[in-house]
Symmetry: C5
Subunit: 376 residues, 5 copies
């Protein structure tokens, strides 16, 4: 019997970097942040130039080179406060935005500023053991440039990158706002992957309830509920964010991109629907499990108690005929005729055993009549 | 005792065709999709011409022939990506719409485009074993044409087709938007059929709770809850969809049709009301069942325990008089007068049995007085 | 012990007349519908003329006779499709409205058409056995005429009729819209009657819980919950309907009538408040009942178990001294001095009984000290 | 052990005066209504004249005397339909308002009429035994006059009256609308008093759960829940009423008064917050109580069962050596050497007792190892 | 085993100062209020002058001295009604505002007056024992001045004060409204600290459930729920307050400050999200705990019962062979051959023991086959 199949999902909010009363806009590197790795894609309908590096110079040199391109600067790892500050300075980004990028526990949101837009989302991915990896992606769109900041090195957006690499891919026709859309669309696709896994797991759990309800059911359902709580905390604001992006009047989000965003919005609602359905199913699985356990326990106790009860009167009868009432006075040896004469009857023992068998049969018949042998 | 009467409804989201990061608008044939069968009805107030086929040519030839008719192109089966693409090309339909048609897990929705409208709904039908068949219907209305895409070959819209076949049927007076309405009205009618079945099943379950509460109650109610979850996930967005259709300003949905849509909207709300009521009834059935089971179990345990308790003191008394305290010293044979003199009394046995009977009666009276023989 | 005091309220939706895919607006006589009985009241401030009949001719002749009166045509029974159609034709009523009149499972609603308004409500009445009678009333107001359609022959609106009969009654000063209001006001009054009954029943149930909680509590509360579900399904849309009537701009609902409707609206909200309160009370009654039953069961089991446990060590002691370890070797008759010498002590039996009493007292004291004799 | 400490709060709606279908606006004296006692305060910034009486003449004579004053006519007791009608006639008050005054089960509301405003509220007061007294206060404000109607003779507004009596009290500077505000402000203050009592009671209950959870916990929490239901049914519409008064454009509610009303509105929201918090606390108290009871019961059952189980094998051993397998054939006296030779061993008894002690110790160790002696 | 680890959080509303019917705007010193300590910071971009004192003269002298500065007057302790009144008089603050400052149980709110704005919030801090300290902070912003009133002497805003002390700190560039923002931002930061603690505690509780579920789990979860209720009661209106501040048109809240407020608003929503998640986790922890306890109890009872049941038939057999049916008539010594001949068989005892062992083995096999030794 395995116990606690899944690693527990931490319900604790990860410690926010910073102290009470800190200046808002203060940039602090989150604990355990990785050294940034930078990729830059510069593309127009004809060509795509990409380079990799670890410092801002990679970016600057390519920006200089490609002046009529759209640029996607993809930064993985937030371990370098200077880099972020430099980007903030050059692009004239508000301190509050930079703080949000570094504080990796944001709710998904979309903020519009005079010259740029800022959006953040949560990339939730699970491995085969149903362990969630919940990281932040922050995106700044300004002029002809989109900058994405990811916490980890995972290649979560390979599909998008390969589409960008494909010559004549339609994605190259759209502006930087479309990259932002495409990133969040992928984020939402990942939610479907996790939900799919949860759905399968819930089905397996239900099968196990019917077949062999042990207490790991409880742990595993608990685990699923935690996953759903994490997903829901991301999905609801995600929906609002997409909606804000659809309604924005910023020229950085074009009308064509909004058509695609509406599609992403539908997916978001589908995800929320699924989460709510799965929550209901988890709850009813638990109800079913508790009812099964209680039924089984009741069944066992009933059988055991019936066995006891059948033997108790028989044991009493045996006890009675084990009493030592004497047939003769021990001193005078005078007979004491009414002291258990049954014991001295020629076939007393047979009668006695017969009575016992009779009592047993009557009891069994009575319980059977009452329907107590039936399963509850 | 039957177990698990109904086939379980899968809570798993069927795998979405496609991978994370795929291009939106990518058309993929869903797994196990059927080869399309095409029917085309071309009608005006005077005549109705219909033909069947499996390729787009059937459609094209009839469209050419009947140029002042309204056309309903009914496609059953989505197994042919080319057909869909060709239709998309000819009618100038957005890639995203085509993707939605092929991705058969859409929520009901109504989308308005410049030259056409697109709506999708869920046809939910159940067989006698309460197995749900939940398929998608997608509808495009453009110019004088309505195209419906269904997943399966089931003839779910026979009523509508036969009305269309009837000469002078009022439905022939309306435009293609009315066909779209009529299809969704039928979809809603199917919901009533399923709900009717659930309602009857819930009543049967309640009867069974009163008469003979076994654990299949739990399974069956669970099954009903699953059915209601599926229906609710369809009915709420269905309501919003109908509402969007009523509010649209597209000329494809005429004022007359909107009057009918308002009727469909009322039906939708009735369905939602029913679903919520049935959910409450399921929940209270489970409460009732659990209380019944616990009452019955308690009743059994009480009876059994009372029987034990009545015999325990009697067995003790028998045990006491089974003790071997000796009346005479085994070696010297001197009498030991206070060692269980009762055993050597002339009527000791009778007194003893009398005391046992008395103890038994006192106990029964005491328990009866306390009301423990009453049913809980 | 009575079981299942009340007749169960059917949770099943009564089968909608008609089949999937039927033409909307198709008039079908509901199953078991009664033959219509027609009453017509024609009144103005001075006089009231009324007649009865079973065919439309009664109506027509009186309409001809009284041309400056307000007419209330009261139809009880929907068994005659022709009559309805004829009325529809003469008054130019939409097919959809006629279908709604005949389909007796409408939600309360108020629909405004160009020349008339249509409203429907649910008359919910209960008898002394808490059996609900849930029928439909449909009302059409047009010109100087109000037509009401009821399912059954019950005289639910006697109060209103007698007010109309009273000379100089203020109701005669208002137009036909006021009759419509007065009918729905009466409908709402009936809800208060039913709620009053439920309130009393819930109190009785609570008394029974405190005094003698048996399992009929569960059935009866279940019954009350069903009644509340039925009422709630009617009361919420009723509120919306009244609200729609207040906001309508149709001249058929006059400003004076709207003042009265606001009063009816307040009553509706009061009813909804009461329903929600009663639902909470039902739920907490069930909680209380379950806790009572479990307490009582626990109490019984505890007493029984304590009795067993007190006797078990005593029986063991008796068992020990019932062992047959021999004082003398059976063959050689040599004494075996350490084999149960207690049995051959002069006062062994007394000591033994004394020890038993002591064990019993210690146990009782221990359990008493632990507080196990206290009621839970 | 006290049982059912508090008098039960009736969940039954008090019977509405009147019958189904009665004319709206019909004035009926509520059952058990008291004879009216009238107080009239006429004040301006300089002076306050007050008089008492039981008939309308008291009022009329003072109104004549004081023509540049603001009047507060305070009527306690609704037992005189004539008085109400006379007031209605003289002030030209709608029949519906008069009916509402007499029908003492109104929800709090604020209605605006052309020449006057009408508001009603619920005065909820509790005594030391947590018995609620829930009466109605109705207020009409017209011209320079405010008329308040209370059901009972309780002096619930003494604070306000004494402020009015104080010379130069600021309250004298405001118009009649301010008296209306001041009355409802006092009503809200009373809610705080009741909530304070409930809060203390809930704390006491929680203490009792930790110290000595008996079943009165259940009754008392139930009682608190009922009180909260009553308060909530009053507080929510109270909030809406105050809000309506803030938004009214009637000149009878001045801008200064509205500032004060905003303060009252905040208090109302605080009350609603408290009610909801207390409901949650009640619910979690019940959860805690049920868990405590179940823990205690489990603890008792476990101890008892362990005692039984320890003795059962011992008793079996004793039973074995109580068997009468004979060492010698009874007839031939030939030895039967393998028939329980233990009984004839020199130290058989000691070995036997030793084995019993061993079995007991092994069992205790086993159970202790398993952690079964630990508290759950 | 520790019991009741945390001090209970009072669910009782602290008694509101004042009596029913008191004049609104009456200033009463709350019970146990501390003597005010005043700090005043006067700053502009160049310099910061601060002084401390206990009377209003400290303030006045500094205000005179620094006439082109922004002033923050920080008052800790509300024990001096005169001081408050004097401030109210000099700044022309409404009596209702002064009453709200002194009545330390306000909900967070933001009120706008003609010449000043007033806002109040709740500072919720917890110590290591999870005891909450829930005090009020009230803030008045007028002209170039912000006055904050705190209940206690705790230095909750040290971070802010030190930022203000830092030369060239950006905070010195903003007006008094920014200090108000900065105070509430710190308040919200404190909420994160408390939530962080709750999150960690909930995790510890969950670990304890898996490892060693005792009843302190219930107490501690209860404690967490209480903390969450307190936080939620503060956080929801806090959100509305911040929102009101963002939407205000008062010039005291500048556009720059509003940008920061939007950041605070996001934090507020994050807090509300966390509270709701933690509530769900608490609830599911309790479910899990109850299921664990019940499983463990069931497991124990099952083992115990199985042991009993195995021995009961064996004891019965022993009882049978303990019966004293005599082989010889006691008087005549005639053999009674069918009276328990087994006892006089040469190997009767061995057979008997063999049968007992067999019965035991059969039972164990039967229970094992049934799966009753498996863990539930």
């Amino acid at each position: 019997m395995t116990t606690k199949q899944f690693k527990r999902i931490s319900s604790r909010m990860h410690k926010r970097a910073g102290n009470v009363g800190d200046r808002p806009g203060l940039i602090r590197v989150p604990e355990g942040a990785l050294k940034p790795r930078i990729k830059i894609y510069s593309y127009n309908t004809e060509e795509l130039i990409s380079s990799k590096g670890e410092s801002i110079h990679t970016v600057l040199s390519q920006l200089k080179k490609c002046d009529n391109h759209t640029h996607w600067i993809k930064i993985n790892g937030l371990g370098d406060a200077k880099l972020i500050e430099e980007i903030g300075d050059r692009l004239n980004i508000s301190d509050l935005v930079l703080e949000d990028i570094m504080n990796t526990h944001q709710r998904p949101k979309f903020d519009e500023y005079d010259e740029y837009v800022y959006a953040t989302g949560r990339v939730i991915i699970s491995n085969d053991d149903c362990e969630l990896n919940n990281t932040q992606i922050s995106i700044i769109v300004k002029d002809n440039m989109v900058i994405s900041f990811e916490e980890g090195y995972e290649e979560n957006f390979e599909g998008l990158e390969s589409r960008l690499n494909t010559p004549k891919s339609p994605i190259r026709n759209y502006g930087p706002g479309h990259i932002c859309y495409a990133l969040f669309d992928t984020v939402i696709d990942w939610y479907f992957v996790v939900l799919n896994q949860i759905g399968e797991e819930l089905e397996t759990i239900e099968d196990r309830i019917y077949e062999n309800a042990d207490k790991t059911i409880m742990y595993d359902t608990q685990h699923m509920k935690r996953m759903l709580i994490v997903l829901r905390r991301a999905a609801w604001p995600e929906r609002d964010k997409i909606n804000d992006m659809i309604r924005t009047e910023s020229p950085l989000v074009t009308k064509e991109t909004k058509t695609y965003l509406r599609d992403a919005y539908d997916h978001c609602i589908q995800i929320i629907d699924l989460i709510e359905s799965y929550k209901e199913i988890s709850a009813s699985n638990i109800d079913l499990y508790l009812s099964m356990v209680s039924n089984r326990m009741n069944g066992i106790m009933k059988v055991l108690t019936i066995i006891s009860v059948i033997f108790i009167p028989l044991t009493f009868v045996a006890g009675v005929y084990g009493m030592n009432f004497a047939p003769l006075d021990p001193v005078t040896s005078k007979p004491l005729p009414l002291n258990m004469p049954e014991l001295y009857e020629p076939h007393g023992y047979l009668y006695c055993v017969g009575i016992m068998v009779l009592i047993g049969i009557i009891q069994v018949l009575f319980f059977w009549k009452k329907g107590w042998f039936k399963k509850l």
